[in-house]
Amino acid sequence: MKINVNGTTHDLGEINPRTPLLWVLRDHLSLVGTKYGCGISQCGACTVLLNGEAMKSCLYPVSAVRDAQVTTIEGVAAKDGTLTRLQQAWIDLDVAQCGYCQAGQLISAEALLRKNPTPTDDEIYAAMDPNLCRCGTYIRIHNAIKRVADENKSGQNGG
């Protein structure tokens, strides 16, 4: 089976098609940025982009992504390594504590901003509620998204 992750096609050979995407990414492709937290679609640590939409990968069978574009946290920055404004906001606002949830948080935020570059507070909450942060960094996550949304609103979105 072949899947496309971060713009690269990977041949997975004879993999069990029911293997969740999460474990394919982590164990087979060594893309360990996507995390395991609950395995039952409750915490959002395993969130990836599937054709640009946020999707929890822990219960999602790999066979279902055969024709899709998967983007993981490793594929968010530009090919030359330049960080997105959202990633930079995450760093500037010192969002993380333990950091374990943050890949999933960033992916959910990325999906939101792709669809809706200028979300309201309530739209941010609705998009981010699937992602748990055990350390309680919600305020900073919200502020980081807000910062990019505000930039988008005032048109300084430089690309």
Binding site: S30, V32, G33, G39, A96, C98, G99
Partner: protein, 765 residues
């Protein structure tokens, strides 16, 4: 009824209470009192550093190739300046804040340094663990001395080059400057020469006047933040090695059960399964429980095999714990006098001459640590050595047990400390690491043991539930004159999970005070959970004080300040580490002022105040909430009918006195996170046990708070300049629940006495 051994859990808990002493900083400074021979040896050990004897000759020939490595925290070489972060990073920010302290005294350019996690080396480091909010107090002075020592040597090296007195030189942004001539040397240029100088004793180097600090007290973003947003491997769970296999370990769902039989042959035939076998366990519940290990080619195949695994458990000695039975028994015990722990003045006389009294039965459920990264450990057993990669809060303590379990000397065991996806106290205990070591011993390939979330909750060392029958009174002036706290705790393995003492608030502040304690039999392990003891005691005592304020028909803030009284040291602190009522009153007043205590609020809104002292931090919180009307009746976990009511926490104002702040951004993050964690925990977190089993094992039933209902948090800090810094990972947690509870009472007249308060019908909206 249980055969488990809990000694080391209690020892660890005791260790933290004992260890968390600011004066340990001075005591631990001994690490730097090295003579020159020891220094040579240590710089060799520290990794990358050349032996100095060799360095001397090389220094002349290839000046740029010699490392300046004066202690375990600093290395300056041709690559640049590296600072070593000695302690486990669990989200409390020490991988950034500890190196900041070194950087301040060393006068380096923060933007250009590199921070690297240290290896485990008891000879080099003060204390390589994360617990008890002790890193900052224990390391503050030693790290300043480490930075200042290196700086003094670099200055001396420059002085020698220029033949001037060191006193004519200054340092700034990784450079030594000579004001007279305008000449400068970079630290890197000086490193080889500095490496040849004797290391001055730590006491002899001059530390900066804190007023001169340029870095400490500013906002610095975490050193791993860029790696985190790029998804780079940092955590224990991220370890990958050539030929790595993946393991699970199935233990009895009722703790203490042993393996009678299992369908191991069937499991071995499953796709991807490499091996499966039972392990007997050691009889010590803190290293290895009996269970069945499965090793597979991938985590998913190991998980699938775990699902197909059928084990017959012998539950003769397993837990029979029942939360509902314990609650019933506690309600009965609440009516009977128990063992007196403290008895000051005459409580009964105060009650009989009082003007008003109050009485309440408080209770709190068990909770799980549930760090978001489930326990895991990678282990490689090579016959004559064992290599481990683990997200642990106590890396240095793990090594001896891992060695014992695999029949090695401690010198044959290497442990790499990995970033931890949350700790909260769970990773003080290394049972997962010992399992990994025991499984690796049976495997040719390295293995990564992965606990499922369900494993993680079931085999947690829980924050114990508990019960308090509270009684108290006020006199004709509305002054609190009598206070009795009858505490009913749990005793896993016969030892109380937590202990009351006469110093618990308002010990030393109310004249007639009695503390009683009794304990219920229990099998499940209970242990340190973020701000141990304080995380629940604060709720009980600060809510009950509020009850007495209302009984006296007085303002809660006024009564709290009156109880605190004249500025003095009180409470059960050891070695002068107790609470100071003056510092307490100052944070209370600041929180009240910033929150606008007493201002006009909309109907159904209210403010509550609470103070607590723990982990050397004085913290006050004012919460402002609004409460919705009564809705439908629902059945709670305990089978009682309760009326649902919507709660909104509008604002939380926190005033903290933890001495000077190291990293302001990190400190604010800890305050925000502690408030959200505490609110999450008080709202709906509960582990109940029936039939010896935990009834909630994943986030569907253990519902951690989500973003949309998290409150606005304001953080204020007091630094009078008289105190050295103390930790902030824990002390903000305790006063949040009583502040919210008291605000609920102010808003709607309902007194919450149960944690989580969803048991009384409240939900966040």
């Amino acid at each position: 009824m249980s055969t488990l051994n809990y000694d080391s859990v209690n020892e660890i808990t005791e260790f933290f209470t004992r260890k968390a002493q600011p004066d340990d900083a001075t005591r631990n400074a001994h690490i730097f009192k090295l003579d020159r021979r020891q220094f040579l040896k240590l710089t060799g050990i520290a990794g990358g550093g050349l032996m100095l004897g060799f360095a001397l000759s090389r220094a002349r020939a290839h000046a740029d190739h010699v490392d300046f490595n004066p202690n375990g925290y600093i290395k300056i070489d041709s690559e640049g300046i590296t600072l070593y972060a000695p302690n486990p990073e669990i989200g409390q920010g020490v991988k950034t804040s500890l190196p900041m302290i070194v950087a301040e005294e060393l006068d380096v350019d923060w933007a250009e340094i590199r921070v690297v996690q240290s290896e485990i080396n008891p000879a080099l480091y003060v204390q390589q663990f994360a617990g008890g909010s002790t890193a900052i107090p224990a390391y503050y002075t030693p790290l300043r001395q480490a930075g200042a020592t290196a700086r003094a040597m670099l200055v001396q090296a420059a002085a020698d080059q220029w033949s001037v007195s060191p006193s004519t030189l200054s340092t700034e942004l990784s450079q030594v400057l000579h004001a007279g001539t305008g000449q400068k040397f970079s630290y890197q240029e000086l490193a080889s020469v500095a490496a040849t100088l004797p290391v001055p004793s730590p006491e002899s180097v001059r530390l900066k006047d804190p007023k001169q600090f340029r870095l400490l007290g500013t906002r610095i973003t975490g050193v791993d933040n860029e790696a985190l947003v790029r998804g780079e491997p940092l955590f224990g769970i991220d370890v990958s090695l050539p030929d790595l296999k993946y393991a699970i370990y199935q233990k009895c769902p009722a703790i203490g059960g042993t393996v009678q039989s299992a369908n191991i042959e069937e499991i071995k035939k499953m796709p991807g399964v490499v091996d499966a076998f039972a392990l007997e366990g050691t009889g010590n519940g803190n290293d290895l429980f009996p269970g069945v290990a499965i090793i597979a080619n991938s985590t998913w195949e190991a998980f699938q095999a775990k699902r197909a695994l059928k084990v017959e458990w012998d539950e003769t000695n397993a837990s029979k714990d029942s939360w509902s039975a314990a609650r019933k028994e506690a309600a009965r015990l609440a009516q009977e006098p128990a063992t007196q722990i403290a008895n000051n003045g005459d409580f009964d006389a105060a009650m009989s001459t009082s003007t008003a009294t109050s009485s309440g039965f408080y209770q709190y459920h068990f909770v799980s640590h549930a760090p978001l990264e489930p326990q895991n450990c990678t282990a490689h057993y090579k016959g004559d050595s064992l290599e481990l990669w683990a997200p642990t809060q106590t890396p240095s303590w793990a090594i001896p047990t891992a060695a014992r379990l695999t029949g090695m000397e401690t010198s044959q065991v290497t442990l790499h400390q990995m970033r931890c996806g949350g700790g909260f106290g769970r990773r003080l205990y290394n049972d997962f690491l010992f399992e990994a070591a025991a499984i690796a011993r049976r495997s040719k390939s390295p293995i990564k043991l992965q606990w499922t979330r369900e494993d993680d909750v079931r085999y947690d060392l829980f924050r114990a539930g508990g019960f308090h029958q509270m009684d108290g009174c006020v006199d004709e002036n509305g002054k609190v004159t009598g206070w009795r706290n009858r505490f009913i705790t749990f005793a896993p393995g016969g030892r109380p999970a937590s202990s009351m003492n006469g110093g618990v608030f308002p010990g030393g502040m109310v004249d007639n005070l009695r503390v009683e304690q009794t304990a219920l039999d229990w099998a499940y392990r209970c242990a340190a959970w973020r701000a141990p003891n304080a995380n629940v005691f604060a709720f009980v005592v600060q809510s009950f004080l509020d009850e007495l304020s209302h009984a006296a028909q007085r303002d809660s803030l006024e009564v709290l300040l009156e109880v605190l009284g004249e500025p003095r040291s009180v409470g059960g602190g050891r070695r002068g580490r107790g609470m100071h009522t003056g510092r307490a009153a100052n944070v209370v007043k600041l929180a009240a002022e910033k929150a606008g205590w007493g201002k006009e609020l909309p109907k159904n809104s209210g403010m509550g105040v609470a103070f607590y002292y723990s982990h050397a931090g004085h913290i006050a919180i004012v919460a402002e909430v609004s409460v919705g009307g009564e809705e439908n009746a629902v059945t709670n976990r305990s089978g009682e009918n309760v009326i649902r009511r919507k709660l909104k926490v509008d604002n939380v104002t926190v005033a903290s006195d933890v001495g000077p702040i190291i990293n302001l951004s990190g400190a604010e993050n800890q305050v925000e996170g502690s408030v959200i964690d505490a609110l999450s925990t008080m709202m709906d977190l509960s582990i109940t046990f029936e039939n010896g089993r935990a009834e909630q094992t994943n986030f569907d039933k253990y519902r951690i708070l989500r973003a949309s209902v998290s409150p606005a948090v304001e953080a204020h800090f007091i630094d009078t300049g008289e105190h050295s810094p103390t930790g902030l990972g824990e002390p903000v947690f305790p006063p949040l629940a009583p502040a919210v509870g008291n605000a609920i009472f102010a808003a709607c007249g309902h007194r919450v006495r149960t944690l989580p308060i969803s048991e009384e019908g409240f939900y966040l909206g």
